[in-house]
C-alpha cells in the first residue's frame, strides 16, 4: 500500500487517513527521505491543519532539518568558491546543492548528504590540490577504490572537510566515462549559469539540471532515494513548464547530450506516478508514454517496485528481483561487460564494509 505517492499527488486525500494510515505514511516518507518535502507539499496545498498532531511533529521536523541544510549548503558553496579561486576554477554546483543555491522549488524539503560540483577534467588535479590546501581530504577506503574512481569514474573519491565534516563530490562529467551514453561535459560547463546572489558560483542550466537528474536516476543501482529523485524531477519539470517553449528546448538539449533515453523514462514515470503535467506534443515527440516492446514492460515492472518508498509495506514478492535487476542494469549501463565482471568479482571477494556507526547519543550535536 503506497500511501506516500497518494498523499504527494493528492494532498487533499490525507483528510481520509485514519491513525494507522498516518503511522504508515510517516514511515514510508522516512524510508523515501521525503518527510520534509511531504510536509511542505501538504502545507502549500493548504491541508496542514488536517494533519493530526503526532504525524505533524514528525513531518515538521523533516522540514526543519531541510531548511537548516539550506543555510549549510549556501555557506559551503562560498567556502568552495574561496578554495578554488586561487586555481582560477569556477564552482559549478550540481544536483541538490544547485537546487538550493538557485532557490529552485526542487530544493523544498530536500535532505542531502553532500555537495556535488563539476569542473573540466584537465583541471581535476589542480582542483584536488586546492581543495586539500583548504582542508578537504579524500575518504576513499582502500587502494582498489582509489584506482577504481580515478580510472573508471566520472568523479574523484568522495572528499570530506576535516573540520566541518561536510562531504564533497568532485565530478568531471555526469556519467562514468565507461558508460554507454557519453554526454559532453564541456557543453554543460559552457551553458552553466551564474547565480546573482552568490557571485562566483554557477549551477547547470535548468534543462541540464533536469537531464543530469534524469541520467542519474536511470543509471542508479540503489533504490533508496529513487522516489525522492523522481520528485526532484517533478518539481524541476513543473518549474521548466512555466515557459511552454522550454519543453522543446529540453528535448533538443537531450539529443545534443545523448540523454534522450533517460529523459524519456523521466517524463514517463513523472507523468504516470506523480502526475507531472506534460504537453501532448512533447509526449508524442518523445514517445515517452508509448507502451511498446518487452524491454519497456520489464523496465515498468522494475521501476514500479523501486520508485516507491523502500519500506516493507510497499514490497511484493517481485520486489527483491526488481532491486537485483536494478543493480545489474545500473552496472550494465555504466560499464563494459569485462570491466563489470572484474569489478563485481572484486566486490564479491572483498565486500565493502557496511556503513554503520557506533551507537552514542553523546557524539551527536
Amino acid at each position: 500500500m503506497n500511501l506516500l505517492i497518494e498523499a504527494y499527488r493528492q494532498p487533499e486525500s490525507i483528510r481520509r487517513l485514519g491513525t494507522a494510515d498516518w503511522d504508515l505514511l510517516v514511515r514510508q516518507a522516512r524510508h523515501a527521505n521525503l518527510v520534509g518535502r511531504l510536509f511542505l507539499r501538504l502545507q502549500s496545498a493548504g491541508v496542514e491543519a488536517d494533519i493530526p498532531e503526532q504525524p505533524h511533529n514528525h513531518l515538521l521536523s523533516g522540514a526543519v532539518m531541510a531548511s537548516e541544510q539550506r543555510h549549510a549548503i549556501r555557506r559551503e558553496a562560498c567556502f568552495l568558491r574561496e578554495a578554488l579561486k586561487p586555481a582560477g576554477i569556477t564552482v559549478i554546483l550540481l544536483k541538490g546543492a544547485a537546487y538550493v543555491a538557485a532557490g529552485l522549488p526542487a530544493a523544498q524539503g530536500r535532505l542531502f548528504s553532500d555537495v556535488d560540483i563539476l569542473l573540466p577534467k584537465e583541471r581535476l588535479g589542480d582542483a584536488e590540490s586546492a581543495l586539500m590546501l583548504k582542508g578537504w581530504a579524500s575518504t576513499a577506503t582502500d587502494d582498489y577504490d582509489q584506482r577504481y574512481y580515478r580510472r573508471w569514474m566520472h568523479e574523484l573519491p568522495a572528499m570530506r572537510h576535516v573540520f566541518r565534516g561536510s562531504a564533497l563530490d568532485v565530478h568531471h562529467t555526469i556519467l562514468p566515462p565507461t558508460a554507454r551514453l557519453k554526454p559532453d561535459a564541456r557543453l554543460l560547463i559552457e551553458a552553466s549559469v551564474a547565480l546573482p546572489d552568490l557571485p562566483g558560483v554557477h549551477t547547470l542550466s535548468l534543462p541540464d539540471l533536469i537531464l543530469h537528474s534524469a541520467s542519474h536516476l536511470f543509471h542508479e543501482g540503489e533504490p533508496d532515494n529513487l522516489l525522492r529523485d523522481l520528485t526532484d524531477l517533478d518539481l524541476l519539470l513543473r518549474h521548466l513548464a512555466r515557459d511552454d517553449t522550454a519543453w522543446d528546448g529540453l528535448l533538443e538539449r537531450a539529443v545534443q547530450l545523448q540523454l534522450s533515453g533517460p529523459l524519456r523514462l523521466a517524463l514517463r514515470y513523472c507523468h504516470r506516478l506523480l502526475g507531472t503535467p506534460l504537453p501532448e506534443r512533447i509526449a508524442a515527440r518523445s514517445r515517452c508514454l508509448a507502451d511498446t516492446g518487452i524491454v519497456q514492460h520489464m523496465l515498468d515492472g522494475i521501476y514500479a517496485r523501486v520508485l516507491c518508498p523502500q519500506h516493507p509495506s510497499t514490497a511484493d514478492r517481485f520486489t527483491p528481483l526488481a532491486r537485483r535487476s536494478l543493480y545489474i542494469r545500473a552496472h550494465w549501463l555504466r560499464m563494459p561487460p569485462l570491466l563489470l565482471a572484474y569489478h563485481l568479482a572484486h566486490k564479491a571477494i572483498f565486500p565493502p564494509k557496511q556503513e554503520t556507526h557506533p551507537l552514542s547519543t553523546e557524539q551527536q550535536g
Partner: protein, 306 residues
C-alpha cells in the same frame, strides 16, 4: 492498562511478537525483541508505563534483535532496528537492554525537531523544574537518581524536551542510566528502587538502568516550567555549594548541550534564551547526596514561596 498488569509470559510473548506498545511521555513506542532474556528487566523498568490501545500512532517502531546466522551462537550480538533499518553497529548481546534505551534516545534526537532537545537531566517539584546539563562523568545521573528517590519527579535523565511554543519541559520518565561507581551508591541510597543487573564493558563502562518512580510516570503528562539550571559537578570530599552563574555562561551551557540547536537555527537561539530568562542559574559542586538534596529542597522551597 499498565505494563505491570501483564504477566511476564504475556509481556514476553508480545515483545517477541508484534511488540509492546507503550507511551513514554509525548512519544508512543513499539518495542520488539527476539532476545527473550531482556523481557524480565524491561518489564520492571517500564512497569508503571501505560500500554496504548490497539492501533494508535506510533512515534518509534524499534527493536533489538539477535545477530544473523552464526552470530546467534558465536560472540552473540544485539542489533538495534528502527522500522526495518539498522543504523548502528551491533553490540554484544548482553548489552541489548541499554542498546534499546540508547536507541530510543537516538530516535528522539534524530526525528524530533518540533521541540528543543537538550542533553540534560531534568527533575521537577510541583510545576517547577531543574535542568541539569552536564558532560559525562559529572555525576548528573547520580544526582538525578538521588533526587528522584527523595521526592523529586523525574522528567528525564538523558534528554530534556522543551516545547517551542510555551517553553515548558515535557517529561519522558524513562529509565535512568547509571554508570560505574554510581550504581552501588544509588543501590545503597535507595534500596527500594529497581535497578537492572550491572552490564559490564559497555562504551560507557559498567551501566545499570534504574526504573523511574511510579509517581514520576503517573505525572509525566504534567509539563513543568524551567525554574533552575544547575550544572552539577561531583568532587570527592567537597561541601555542597551552589555558585550563581552569569546568564551568558548559562546560555552557552544550554546551547552546547542542545542536540538540535543548530538544526533549529534562530528558533533554537530564541528557545535557549527564553529558558535562561526564566531560570536561576548555578554551578553546583557536591560530594554527599544528602547535602545535595538539602540544597535542591531549599531551592524548591524558595520557588514555592514566590
Amino acid at each position: 492498562m499498565k505494563i505491570r498488569d501483564l504477566s511476564l509470559a504475556e509481556f514476553r510473548a508480545r515483545l517477541g511478537g508484534d511488540g509492546i506498545r507503550l507511551a513514554t511521555g509525548p512519544f508512543n513506542c513499539r518495542l520488539q525483541s527476539g532476545i527473550p532474556e531482556l523481557a524480565d528487566e524491561l518489564a520492571r523498568l517500564y512497569a508503571h508505563h501505560p500500554l496504548i490501545d490497539d492501533k494508535p500512532f506510533i512515534d518509534f517502531h524499534v527493536g533489538v534483535q539477535p545477530g544473523h546466522g552464526l552470530r546467534r551462537w558465536i560472540a552473540p550480538q544485539a542489533r538495534f532496528i528502527v522500522d526495518a533499518v539498522e543504523p548502528f553497529t551491533p553490540l554484544p548481546r548482553g548489552q541489548a537492554l541499554p542498546m534499546l534505551e540508547w536507541g530510543l534516545n537516538w530516535c528522539v534526537t534524530a526525528y524530533c525537531h518540533h521541540i528543543l532537545v537538550i542533553h540534560a537531566a531534568s527533575v521537577a517539584r510541583g510545576k517547577h523544574a531543574a535542568i541539569l546539563p552536564a558532560p559525562p562523568g559529572s555525576g548528573k545521573s547520580t544526582l538525578c537518581a538521588a533526587l528522584v528517590n527523595r521526592g523529586w519527579r523525574l522528567l528525564s535523565d538523558e534528554l530534556t524536551l522543551i516545547r517551542l511554543d510555551t517553553g515548558q519541559i515535557m517529561g519522558l520518565a524513562r529509565p535512568v542510566n547509571l554508570k560505574n561507581a554510581s550504581i552501588d551508591i544509588i543501590r545503597a541510597y535507595a534500596p527500594d528502587a529497581f535497578l537492572t543487573r550491572p552490564i559490564l564493558d559497555t562504551t560507557k563502562g559498567t551501566v545499570a538502568l534504574m526504573a523511574p518512580t511510579q509517581a514520576s510516570v503517573e505525572a509525566v503528562g504534567e509539563w513543568a516550567d524551567p525554574a533552575w539550571m544547575v550544572l552539577p559537578r561531583y568532587r570527592a570530599g567537597s561541601d555542597a555549594t551552589l555558585t550563581p552563574m552569569g546568564s551568558g555562561t548559562a546560555f552557552m551551557q544550554l546551547a552546547d548541550n542542545a542536540m538540535n540547536y543548530h538544526v533549529l537555527g534562530a528558533r533554537g537561539f530564541k528557545a535557549v534564551g527564553d529558558i535562561i530568562d526564566r531560570t536561576r542559574n548555578y554551578s553546583f559542586e557536591y560530594s554527599r547526596l544528602d547535602d545535595a538534596i538539602a540544597v535542591f529542597d531549599h531551592l524548591a522551597a524558595e520557588g514555592m514561596a514566590e
